[in-house]
Symmetry: C2
Subunit: 242 residues, 2 copies
Amino acid sequence: MAEKRNLEVCFSPSLLHLYDTKDKVVVIIDIFRATSTITAALANGAEKVIPVASVEECIALGKQYTGSITAGERNGRVAPGLQYGNSPLEYPIDFIKGKTLNLTTTNGTRLLHMVKDADKIIIGSFLNLSAVCSYLVAQGKDVLLGCASWKDRPNMEDNLFAGAVVSKVKDHFEISCDSAHIALSMYENALTKESLLEYLKVGSHYHRLAGYGLIKDLEYCTTVDLHPVVPVLKDGALTNNK
Amino acid sequence: MAEKRNLEVCFSPSLLHLYDTKDKVVVIIDIFRATSTITAALANGAEKVIPVASVEECIALGKQYTGSITAGERNGRVAPGLQYGNSPLEYPIDFIKGKTLNLTTTNGTRLLHMVKDADKIIIGSFLNLSAVCSYLVAQGKDVLLGCASWKDRPNMEDNLFAGAVVSKVKDHFEISCDSAHIALSMYENALTKESLLEYLKVGSHYHRLAGYGLIKDLEYCTTVDLHPVVPVLKDGALTNNK
């Protein structure tokens, strides 16, 4: 029997330097809401999603590719100069199908660009949980689950998703990373509550987004397996793994 | 009724820059084994414990203060030039009473020296869990629970202790820090297991120390409320809070 591959979890971009990403599959996790929005847009037929770091870069890309959409928020509002926001609900199939989405977000995009030497960079969210897990098992590579966090502070929802992945794939991987076990404990604890969202209600991000009136977004982003796609980064763009 | 004070948890020295420690009570947590050893030594009558960063500094202090003890390990063995190790079991009352312990450790000492502007720096371990909690409630200050971690990677045992503290004091503090809720979830999950040590058996530090034959240390360090003391840092030395 082949030796099991390692799976590790990184709670924050501030801890990324402690992990070797070379030749690994790195899963970028930003549940509220970047990676949920990317998953939804691609599942609904977007041709590709181009994750960019700054609003300026996003505007420039929008001008460069006619017909492409610019999107991104700062502090819960569409950033000045961009067309759309960072809500997965803004990208239904009849709107996004065939389009390119240029997206800038505060935390998720930043982490994605920090990972330099991975074998693959993919996008994880509750919306594509099982698809991501199947992909990880099939690749046969070491895995790093990277939580985008909130301004470098570990957050509940990203770690919870990491725990959900660990829970589903743990028989297929060697897990000697304490952060993975911590995330798994969280997830097991969350399963004793009424729902994942109910569990996350004490979290700072829940409060922030609920304060912006985005409860429907929060509900959507904690819906499990709505979209069985795996967004993979290639040449700077995210597309569905075929 | 007075407004509640804030309580936050920092999972790693690499994240400490994200937290304001000014005028707070900071609890240093290094369960396996620095803060357990400090708690045990002071509870058993040590006059004081002087935490130092390097082996060289420790040796120098030992020469400076006749009759003081030098102690510290590197990779599970007494470091060359020092007299004793980092096991709490090495410091029973008939040996340590009245003595000064100069102690150097890899992670706990380092975090302690990184905190510069706190109102108080105290030492937390399962051995003095309830005493620490009572102290925190009585102080009426904001609190940061600082996990020493293992070479900056979050570890299970330090976070678990943070969760135990959160569990005990949460009605007395405002807790809007996600890491505190993550730690609390871990602790609640651990309570469903046979024992805290049983829960920690998947952790990397358990494996490392068990590999050095230190199971008795691990058992001791997860014994709750054996020593009702609160070690407080003052002028570079730790003594029991009177």
